[in-house]
Assembly symmetry: C2
Homo-oligomer: 275 residues x 2
């Protein structure tokens, strides 16, 4: 049961994501080899030697071009490194955290995903992450959040730079993600932040002193709910943060449209003047 | 405001995802070059020539080793292809859908994410995707879903293979994702399905004729809600599907634990017999 989306369909619907292609690459020898090499890598540890080219060719009973084509795919998944020369051969590698969140975030940007869309999905995910974080018992992470909470007043008094606000926001999200102990939530949070940073739009909570104050106040209540282990309140504050961002995005959009109309009117005036 | 997570911390908390590293790579010349090359690629179209090595070296005022190091990073993000020889130079490329969902799904597997965790996040995302899909007005996608709905009875009567059930499920999810018109939801759905397939655990809705019947019946109601444009019902059925999967996962887990205990008891019997 495949859908009939051809090349034209893909062009028409830019956000078509062919999941069949995503997991299968068809049923060819190359795709089978991709799966096998992926398995070899996953069964080994990062850095382990998987064998020389000759050894893998014999073990898998495939041709050299097939192996090389498949190896390229698994290399692009960052699960394999092929080294030439002395000590050459196939080695297991692991994708870096950067790689794992960067390509989805870039893909979203290429699909013209909006901050609105990202915030809508975040509003679904973040409150649950907060509620799970409230159940965390890891003393190291609890100490980190306690330190983060303690620094908020000082940050507010000092009037930190935009870069510092951003770094704090990232550290905070990362901490909540790690405290949730859930890799799926952690992955989503990583992608959402990376996307936000690519968009460079995360300035909305600095646009006025009122917003900044409100945002830091929400950070305080969020920290307090998580540190007191109250999952219900943590979920509630998580939702409140989402709604706050939603309304700021809407406000900023309305303001930008008004500016756009004002600019267009000015241009028309000028045209009128020219004729 | 960076957290103090060092190498040891990363090892202790396997799901630490360093978002600072993820977006910045520090403030070095290489990382600045990575950002610039990424910009060049994003501003161009897939396949566009960005210039020769010599041209880029001059344009960016950097050294050859810096350019080559940065190019490797951008190549691994699938945004750049460096070709040698005649017509050599730097070309803009785009990540494939496969690449975009495969590495996060693999990362989740490496982090030992569970089907439970994936389903919990899916329960947050899928209902909203269904509700958005119900607002879709694209005649091609509506026709596809109509055809999918019409085929369910035939699939049930025929007793399709496991592979066919899986392909249908993927096509269905992909269709809902595309109908939602939201790249963020589409990305999440892609990752969740690829993860499920990697885990090869998506057999739970085939484990008994009752489950299979229930699953197809939910597919029917989901299709009907979306096709009738009823977002509220679509959201409700989306939630119901999630709860159903949740309870099946719990049932299967309990059964596996019982089997585990039975097997352990058997082994002990054998040990008792041997002494």
């Amino acid at each position: 049961m495949r859908n009939g989306t051809g090349k034209d369909g893909m062009l028409a619907m830019t956000n078509d994501l062919d999941l069949n292609e995503a997991v299968e690459l068809g049923g060819s020898v190359v795709s089978r080899t991709v799966r096998q090499l992926t398995q070899f890598s996953l069964q080994a540890q990062d850095g382990d030697y998987l064998g020389s080219e000759a050894e893998l060719l014999e073990r898998m009973s495939i041709s050299r071009p097939t192996l090389r084509q498949a190896a390229k795919v698994v290399e692009s998944d960052c699960l394999l490194s092929v080294r030439r020369g002395v000590n050459g051969g196939f080695y297991a590698t692991r994708p870096s955290a950067r790689h794992v969140v960067q390509s989805p975030a870039l893909w979203l940007r290429l699909q013209s995903a909006t901050l609105d869309q990202m915030n809508r999905a975040s509003m679904l995910i973040y409150p649950t992450a907060g509620a799970e974080a409230a159940k965390c018992t890891d003393p190291r992470l609890i100490a980190e959040l306690t330190a983060f909470r303690a620094a908020i007043d000082e940050r507010e008094a000092r009037g930190e730079s935009q870069r510092e606000t951003l770094d704090a926001e990232i550290a905070f999200s990362q901490l909540i993600a790690n405290m949730s102990g859930d890799p799926v939530l952690t992955l989503f949070i990583g992608i959402s932040y990376t996307f936000g940073l690519l968009e460079r739009e995360y300035r909305f909570y600095r646009r006025s002193p009122q917003r900044r104050q409100r945002w830091l106040s929400l950070q305080r209540s969020y920290c307090d709910a998580i540190l007191s282990g109250d999952s219900d309140i943590a979920m509630l504050i998580g939702k409140r943060r989402g709604h706050q961002v939603e309304s700021w995005i809407a406000e900023d959009k309305a303001a930008a449209q008004q500016e756009g109309r004002a600019a267009a009117a000015k241009t028309e005036d000028r045209h009128d003047g020219a004729t």
